[in-house]
Structures are given as C-alpha cells and as structure tokens.
C-alpha cells in the first residue's frame, strides 16, 4: 500500500496527481527546480524537495537526485507524470531497485515501446496495422510518401501519386538526402492526405475509449477530444481491438495510450506508437468515462487490480492546451510574470493549471500554462462552453494562444467534425478589434491615479474652469484623449456610463460594454467580451540621459582623448579599458560597462570632447537562453 508518493515532475501534472492522492489519503512529495520554487504544486504537496539548478538535465532528469529526494522524504512510491523520465526504462528500473513502487508499466514494456522499429515489429506480429508501404506497392496503396531517414522539416520528402513515378522519386529523394544530410537512406510510407490522429486509452489491456488529437501545431497537440468524432462503429471497434491486441502483446500494466493515424477518406488506420504513461490529454477520457485514471494507475501499482473496462462515453469532452506563446511569431514560447491568471471554473469545466496569478513562467520548460476541459452532452455544446470559458478568462502579463483556441473552437469546420492535422494552420484568428479598449484603459488609469491622490481628493478628475484641451493618456506611445470635469468623463463618440480603477462601462450607439481593467505600473490590461488587450503605459517624460543608446559610453567631463584602446568590431570584456580621457590634468579611463562588441567609436586620439558626448557604443553580448 502506498503511503507517501513523490511526483518526479512539475506543474499541472504534479498538482493533478496530488489531487487524487489527497482523495485517497496518500501523502504527497513534490520536487522542484529553483525556477519552479514558487509554483502552486510545490505548496500543494505535503513535503517538497529542491533540485538545485534549472535545466531539466540538472533537475527533473537527474535520476540520482530524484531517488535521493524520495529517500529523504520517506516516499515509498514515485509517479513520473508525463515527459521528463516518464518513459525512461532505466529510471523505472532504478525506482524499483531502490525498493520503491513505480507508478507505471514495467521497465520491459517501456523499453519495448521506446524503440520505434521494435514497436512496429511487435505490433506487426500482433496483427496491428503498421504504417509502412508494402515492398511491392500497388495502385490501392497510393499515394505514398518518400522520406529521408535523417531528414526533418519537410526536406527530402516527396509525395508519389502514380506507381510509374515511384522509382524516379525514390532516386531523387535519395540524391537530395545524400547532399542535404550526408545520408541517402530513404523509406516509403503511405501518404495520408488529411490524416487524423486518433488514440485509444488502455489500462492494462482494458480499453477506456478513444480520443482525437488531430489539431496540432509543430507536431504538438493543441486540441484533444473524447470520443473521437465521426468514427463509424466498424473503425472504432477495429481500432479498439488493435489497441487491446497491442497491450496484450507486451503484457501491458497500467495506463497507456495506443496512437493511430487514421485516413478518413479510406477509413484505414495504422499504428503510430504507444505511450507508456499517462497522457497530457487524459482528462477528456476521465470526463466521458467517469473514471479517475490516476486512481486506476495507483490501484494497479498497489496490485489492487480489479476487472474493469470503459463503457459507452457519456457525452463529449474537449480539452485545449493553453500555452504561453505568441501565435503571431510562429508560436514562439513566451516567458514572464502572469500578473493575472483566472479561468472561470464553471459547471462542466475542468481546469488543470500549473500556474496561478503572480506565477513566473520561466524559459526552462514546456510553456503550457493549463489544460482547460469542457464536458457537455454533445460535441458542439462542449466546444461552445469551452470557447466561452476561454474568452472570459483573465490572462495578463504573458501572451498566450487563447485567441487561437477560441477561434478553433468556433470554426465551422471544427464544429462539423472536420478535424485533421492540416486544419490548425488554416484557422484564421479574427483580428482583435480593440475599439474602445484604449479609452477604457485611459479612464481606469485616471481613476487609479485619483484614488492615490493626497490632495484635492474629491475634486472631479481633470476638472478645469477654463477648458483648452483634452487630457491625454499615452498608451503604447499613442495618445488617448478624454475630458474630465463636473459631469464625469467625456470621450468623443461614446458615453462614459461608469468608471472605476478596475472597470469602465462605455455606451456606443445605445450598446453598453463593460471593460475590466487592471492598471499595473508599466502596463494596463483590458478584458472585454471582444477579447483582451495589453498596453504599455508610456511615461509622460523620459530623462534624456536614459534615452541614449544603451551601451553608450559618455564623456564624464569635458576633456581630451589621449588614447583609444579598441577599434569598432572588437570584442571587449566587462571593465576592459576602451579609451582614456585627460581632463584637469587627470587621466580618466573609460571602460566597457558589459562584455560585448564595440559597434561605434565616436572619437580619435587628440579629440576634444564635451561632457555627455557619446565616445563609443558597446553592444552587450546576450547569452542565448535554452
């Protein structure tokens, strides 16, 4: 019986496992890197152990540190979550060797499924269809795709639509791969035009329904749902049988997922891989199957097995992954402080979040902030509910893919069940119409300032007995004009119904809209039914001394340049002398403020310089973050 369980993971999945542990009366242990020390999961655990450092290698991937943490806290079981060491057979074996309970499949199962080639072999032998072209393809196998074994990013890929072309394309692909990657190995696979990614949840060899995870970007799942929409009974039964056969083939223990590629046109499917762990998207299965998969995992680990299997799905569940990323910049991960992070917890909505308001999102790990799951009687109802919850979420400080998720959930093709791996890039996010948000932001700032006043507190904001011009608030360097005074705020084109430091209600053409505003020191965030906008509060004044190009070396006093030690383009270390200035018979060495490259030398030996004159510019060398 497990008494105290350590989760060798972080963030939302740690919280998720702890939640079930609490329900079962199991004590909990968290491990955390330095960057994660203040995340909610660390506080939620009964005990927490610091893993010094930040990179995964020195923290969540360090087997010795993790086992030591378990020993020090007296944990008797380890749950690996997903990612990190969850599919590392060596870790699983080390946990068991240390006399601890491993919440997961046997090291042998992990090992067997860890090798793509080996996994395919086992599956083929078990009668599960595997994605590979027959040695002698026929017309019915078309189209095919030729891929470079060492390739990636689409290079070396060639789609073959007629048998005549096959040999020619293979030769061409081989030549291209040889020159591009130095490795001419190519292989041929069936090409699926609008493939879907459908997977089957198993516990042991019991099937707990299926999920669709076709909506991906950069091979990362974004929207997942259960059950997979639009599967006819024959396909579903065949797929479930294949998954069962796969699990039986390796005598699988615990929760796992068998992934398939489905061609909706031909209704054929192929085994892709098996994940020997709890999936990120397991909540959609829990919702429609009415089970707690972590509880089942723990019962399996405690050898308290039971005869059980999934039933008919109850309604439909959709999960979205909310990422800290900038969809406009090719989904580049974003970091920073989540000044507000509030997702309305409504009926039929589950939020598995790793962060809370005030959390800092670091650059060290996956940028997923939360999973939001909606469960409803029908798929369209679930999609609508989820889109509504997301659009009402308050997320400030870090850009996210929220708007894109809402756009997907409201896209007619998605609602029609036309999911495929190709859909996501086609979904257009309607451009944000900020409309009156800057005005709301400006008025909330005015109210915020008024609340902080120390004199003339009750005098109407912006009151003038002689009016000459509107008040101007600078947001993102743009002025927003408004008038204050006796009758409250006035703006051109709208009526200000109410204003406070946190909310502004405007009426335009007889329609009232309330804007929720959070006024921060440097930024102001506005949420309204049309979306969210963040504006930088441009300072009214900047000290010209601060406006000089950063890295500029200024003459501390008027004088003569007596020596210049560097030239443009030179690399300099912090503190390295750049030039010498003589003034008042004293030598003043001007040194590089940071390590960097000299981009500009404004003077030469013998030059007379005035105080404040730019002598040189050193561009700081920025260390690239991992």
């Amino acid at each position: 019986m497990i008494r105290r369980l350590m989760v060798a993971n972080r963030g939302e999945i740690a919280s998720r496992v702890f939640r079930t542990c609490r329900a079962l009366g199991i004590e909990t242990v968290a491990v955390h890197s330095d960057a994660d020390a203040d995340l909610p999961y660390v506080r939620e655990a009964d005990l927490a152990v610091r893993l010094p450092g930040n990179t995964p290698a020195e923290t969540y991937l360090d087997v010795a540190l993790l086992l030591d943490a378990a020993r020090r806290t007296g944990a008797d079981a380890i749950h690996p979550g997903y990612g990190f060491l969850s599919e590392n057979a060596g870790f699983a074996a080390a946990v068991e060797d240390a006399g601890l309970t491993w919440v997961g499949p046997t090291p042998a199962s992990i090992e067997a499924m860890g090798s793509k080639v080996e996994a395919k072999r086992i599956m083929r032998e078990a009668g599960v269809p595997v994605l590979e072209a027959p040695a002698q393809p026929t017309e019915s196998d078309l189209p095919l795709i030729v891929k470079a074994s060492a390739g990636g990013g689409g290079r070396g890929m060639r789609i073959v639509r007629s048998l005549d072309a096959l040999d020619r394309e293979v030769a061409a692909a081989r030549a291209e791969a040889e020159s591009a990657f130095g490795d001419g190995t190519v292989f041929v696979e069936p090409y699926v035009e609008h493939g879907r990614h459908v997977e089957v949840q198993v516990v042991g060899s019991s099937v707990y329904g299926d999920r669709d995870c076709s909506l991906q970007r950069r091979h990362q799942k974004v929207v997942e749902e259960a059950p997979a929409p639009g599967l006819d009974d024959a396909v579903r039964t065949a797929m479930h049988d294949a998954a069962r056969a796969a699990a039986e083939a390796i005598d699988y223990r615990g929760a796992g997922t068998v992934e398939f590629l489905l061609d909706p046109a031909t209704r054929r499917f192929w085994f892709l891989e098996m994940n020997t762990r709890l999936q990120v998207e397991h909540p959609v299965t829990e919702a429609v199957q009415g089970v707690d998969l972590v509880e089942l995992q723990l019962r399996v680990a405690e050898s308290d097995w039971f005869m059980g299997w999934g039933g008919e799905p109850d309604g439909h569940a959709i999960e979205v992954r909310l990422y800290a990323e900038d969809p406009a910049a090719d989904h580049a991960p974003q970091s920073g402080v989540l000044t507000r992070f509030e997702i309305p917890a409504e009926d039929g909505v589950r939020i598995d979040a790793g962060y809370e308001s005030g959390s800092e999102v670091s650059t060290f790990y996956d940028a997923m902030l939360a999973k939001v799951v909606a469960h409803a009687p029908t798929r369209t109802a679930a999609a609508r509910r989820l889109a509504g919850v997301l659009s009402r979420a308050t997320i400030h400080g870090v850009p996210t893919n929220r708007d894109q998720l809402v756009a997907i959930l409201r896209d007619p093709r998605f609602l029609a069940g036309e999911v495929s791996t190709a859909l996501l890039p086609e979904v257009q996010v309607p451009p944000l119409d900020p409309a009156w948000a800057p005005v709301a932001a400006a008025l909330a700032i005015a109210e915020h300032d008024a609340a902080l006043r120390t004199v003339q507190r009750g005098i109407p904001v912006g009151w003038r007995n002689v009016t000459s011009q509107p008040q101007l608030t600078l947001l993102d360097d743009q002025p927003v004009a408004w008038w204050g005074g006796r009758d409250g705020y006035r703006v051109d084109g709208a009526t200000v119904v109410a204003a406070s430091p946190t909310a502004v209600t405007l009426e335009v053409d007889g329609v009232r809209t309330t804007y929720a505003v959070v006024v921060g020191d440097g930024a102001v965030d506005v949420d309204w039914p049309g979306g969210h906008a963040a504006y930088a509060r441009t300072p009214r004044f900047t000290d010209p001394a601060d406006a000089v190009a950063s890295g500029s070396l200024l003459a501390p006093m008027p004088g003569t340049v007596t020596a210049v030690h560097v030239a443009a383009g030179d690399e300099v270390a912090a503190g390295q002398p750049v030039l010498v200035l003589e003034a008042m018979k004293m030598q003043h060495t001007v040194a590089a403020p940071t390590a960097g490259t000299v981009t500009e030398i404004g003077v030469e030996t013998g030059a007379q310089v005035a105080a404040g004159e730019v002598l040189a510019v050193v561009a700081e060398t920025v260390e690239e973050e991992q």
Partner: protein
C-alpha cells in the same frame, strides 16, 4: 443662465485662443508648446487646474487673458501657483493687466504659502504702456525674493526670451531651468551691448541656456527640450519636502443636485432667492461624520442674512449668505457676532453675496444702521480666518464691503455670470443723478430738459449696467474669475484645500466696536 454660460465659454475661448491661429501655428511650427499645453504637462495627470483671472484685460485694448496664464495646479502632490507667459500674444509682452494679474497671483501664493512655478517666455514690457508697468513692475521681483525668504520656493522654467528686466525672473528664483537653444536670458542684447561698450556679441554668448548652465551658473539645469524642462521642474517640486500630512475627513456629495443652481437665480435680481437652496447644493451632504449638512446660527434673528456652519469637501466653514437683499441693523449685528465666533474656533468663512446694500431711510438711520454696518465691516476687516466670497447676484453699495468685497482681501473671490456689482443699481444711480440735476436746475431757476434727462438716464443706466457686469469686473481683476454656478463646490473645495497649506488662526483683536 445657460445663455450666460455659453457667453462665458466664448469669453474664455478668447483667452485660450491667445494671439490667434497665425501666431499659435507659428509657435507650434517652432516645436514649442502653448502656455496651457505646458501647464497640462506640468500638473499631475488628472489633477484639477484652477485658472485665475482668465478674463483679465477684458474690455481693455489688450487681449483677454492679458498674455499670461495663472492658476493653481497640483505638481507631484503639491499645490503650486503656476504662471505661464503666452508668447503668442505680442511675444508674451507684459501690459498693465499682465502686471496686475501677476501681482494677484503672487498675493495668492503669499497668503496661502504656495511654491511658485513660472513658465517664462516673454518679450518684456509693452513699451507704449511702459509708464504703467515699469515703476510698479519692480514688485514682481520683490515678491519673488520675499516669497523665497518666507520659505515659499520659486522655480523658473525658461522656455524662451527672458531678457532685460525679465532676466530677473530666473535671476530672483530659487531654481532655474533653461531649455537648450530656446532660453535667452540677458540684461542687454547684442545691439544694446554694441551701443553701450562697442563689444561684438551674440545671443548665445550673452544669454544662451548652455552658457548659463555651464558658465554663468544662472541655470541650475539645462533641459534638452520643453518636455525635459517640465520633467525637471516636476522633480524640483517633488524634492521641496512639502508632503501634506493628514487627509481631509471622509464626506459625501451635497444632498441636493448642483445642477439645480442654474435655475435658482432669477433673471431679475429684484426677486430674492433663498440662499439655503444654494448652500444645500454646495456643502457636504449628511453622512456619519456630518449629521446635519448646515447648522444654522440665529435663524430667528436678522432673517435677511443666513448664517451657519457646514463643511465643503470635508473642510469646516462658516457661511454668511444674503437672503432678502437688504441688510438691516439686526443682520449687521448678527454677522458681526458670527464672524467673531468663526475667529474664536479658527474656521474659514464663506460669503455668498446677493445684497442691495444697507437699508436707508429715516427709521434706519435713527436706529443706527451706520453704526451697525460699521461693526460688520470692522469684523470683516479684522477677521484673520481665511475668507471666500462668491458673488451670486447683486453686490451693491456698502453691502459689497460688509460681505467681504474685493477691497477686503478675501483669499479668493469668484463671480457667477448672474452677478452685478456697483455702488448702487443702474436705475437707482441714473435716478439719483436725475434728481440731483433737476434740483440743480431748479436752484438756478432753469427749465429742466426732460428729453435730455431721459437720454442721460438711459446712457448712465447702460454705462453702469455694463460696468457692473461680471466680465467687466473680472477684466479689472475685481474677482478671481467668473465660474459656472455648478462648479461652485469644486472651486471652493480647491480653494479650501489651498488655504489649508497654512494654519487657520482666528483673531481676538478687532477695531473698537461702536455700540
């Protein structure tokens, strides 16, 4: 009233327009800001700005506003007296009204202990009227240094010309900021220097910002541009160590809607109105800390004058308000007692004018109306608590004195557009002249020219009427501005906040009360 307010807006717009579109555009084209743009940047965002004497010079040969903007604004949480030359009006040259307006601003700074920030850009004195400026104008420099000595810091931000006598504005200020390539501060320009000593020179070497910051030391700060000068000015104020301690108590808005003030004052000032209706729309409403909005004092005695206690924006005030126009002996004695009471408890006084003066007639003269009026004027004159006056309607004759008219130096005096002020009503004045002229004619045994009399009366009536109207009075600096009645509470709230920069200390010494 709404028509009068539209007209007031139009008059204010004249002051705002400065030297007109051509000069405003030229000024902007030089990358410079208008005086009110400078002020808007200088004061805290969203804070109020109470402009003073905006109609100065109205009815004179000079532009409305007198080529300078003065007022009270909040900078870094500190209430400051701000003045700003308007260089679009004849280069910002000072005319006699500019000087008077500056004196009034300096008086307000002095009485209320405010720091002064001067936004300087003036071509000097208007030479055709120099005789009215030169001799009295020296007071401006005297005021600056005396303010400094009273620990009321003075700050000059120099945006442009400040030459000859004007050079002493930065010269006499505690802090001086000059804008690079704009400020020009010297006693004599190149032509004058050439004439005086034969020396060849240029503007920059004689009075450039750079020179004053690095060489003469007259400039404490060299600003890159106008924004930078204002930024530095705000930082200077932030370091004056004048943080206000103690906030005003919580209060609620008036029990009656201030918008109602527009309908209260009858078009014909002959009809009296109840000042309690004004008070209810100006003073703090009932709240936990303010069980009764207005505690009337001596309500049954001298009922033509309402007296009592209230709060405005949390500040306690004693109020004297005319109810029936005429002041009788009872009213004068009641006022005298009330003013003494306010001094006893260090409470500022608010006078709400609508008076036609002290009662005349044999009964009243015999009853000692002069004695009693004198008591009231004695009390008003020697009272040392701050006084505020608002001329709502009539303010005639000695009533203007007893109710703390301009000559009695209220800290602030504002006028409603409905106000009229003169030695007596226009019709009465014309009538008096007519009677006197008729008597003179009769004494000489001449026939009285009735037609001429009618013309004379009409002319005098019109002349007095015009001269007793608010713009004319405001143009002569006889008030601090004409205000929308609905803004009365806000204006008084600002004034009381400004007054609180110095302790309120009542007197126990009055002149001999003639009993």
């Amino acid at each position: 009233m709404l028509e009068k307010l539209e007209s007031l807006d139009a008059e204010h717009a004249k002051a705002v327009a400065g030297g007109g579109e051509k000069y405003v555009d030229r000024h902007h084209a030089r990358g410079k800001l208008l005086p009110r743009e400078r002020i808007e940047l200088l004061v805290d965002p969203g804070s109020a700005f109470l402009e003073l004497s905006p109609l100065a010079g109205w009815g004179s040969d000079f532009a409305v506003g007198a080529s300078v903007v003065t007022g009270i604004g909040v900078i870094e949480g500190v209430e400051c007296l701000i003045t700003a030359n308007d260089p679009t009006v004849k280069g910002g040259a000072s005319n006699p009204w500019t000087v008077k307006k500056g004196f009034r601003a300096a008086q307000i700074a002095e009485e209320n202990g405010l720091p002064t920030v001067s936004l300087v850009e003036s071509g000097g004195a208007d030479l055709p009227t120099q005789k009215e400026i030169f001799i009295p104008g020296g007071k401006a420099f005297r005021d600056l240094t005396r303010a400094s000595a009273r620990k009321q810091p003075t700050i000059a931000l120099v945006f442009g010309n400040s030459t000859a006598g004007g050079a002493y504005i930065p010269g006499m200020s505690d802090y001086t900021v000059m804008v690079r390539e704009q400020a020009k501060v010297f006693l004599g320009g190149p032509p004058l220097v050439k004439m005086a000593t034969g020396e060849e020179s240029d503007d920059e070497s004689l009075g450039g910002a750079e020179m004053h910051a690095r060489t003469s030391g007259l400039a404490d700060h060299l600003a890159e541009d106008e924004h930078d000068a204002i930024r530095i000015g705000r930082r200077i104020v932030a370091r004056l160590n004048r943080e206000r301690r103690g906030l005003t108590p919580a209060y609620t808005e008036p029990d009656a809607d201030p918008d109602g003030l527009l309908d209260l004052v009858p078009a014909d000032l002959k009809e009296p109105f109840d000042p309690r209706d004004v008070i209810a729309r100006v003073v703090d409403g009932v709240s936990r800390d303010n069980a009764v909005a207005f505690d009337e004092f001596k309500p049954l005695y001298g009922s033509s004058l309402v007296t009592g206690w209230a709060r405005i924006h949390g500040h306690p005030v004693g109020i004297l308000a005319n109810a029936q126009g005429v002041l009788f002996s009872e009213e004068a004695q009641k006022a005298t007692q009330f003013i003494q009471l306010a001094n006893q408890v260090d409470t500022p006084l608010l006078f709400l004018h609508n008076t036609t003066g002290y009662m005349v007639g044999a009964d009243y003269e015999q009853g000692g109306i002069i004695k009693h009026g004198a008591m009231m004027i004695n009390a008003v004159s020697n009272s040392t608590v701050p006084h505020l006056s608002v001329i709502m309607g009539a303010s005639y004759g000695a009533g203007n004195y007893g109710m703390n008219g301009r000559a009695f130096d209220p800290r602030f005096l504002f006028t409603w557009p409905s106000a009229k002020s003169a030695v007596m009503g226009p019709a009465q004045l014309a009538g008096v002249l007519s009677i006197v002229a008729r008597a003179a004619a009769e004494a000489k045994g001449q026939d009285y020219d009735e037609e001429g009399d009618a013309g004379m009366r009409a002319y005098v009536e019109q002349m007095v009427e015009e001269a007793s109207l608010p713009y004319a009075l405001s143009g002569m600096l006889y008030d601090d501005g004409v205000i929308d009645p609905r803004d009365t509470r806000t204006v008084l709230g600002i004034c009381l906040s400004v007054i609180a920069n110095k302790p309120v200390v009542g007197t126990d010494r009055f002149g001999v009360f003639r009993m």
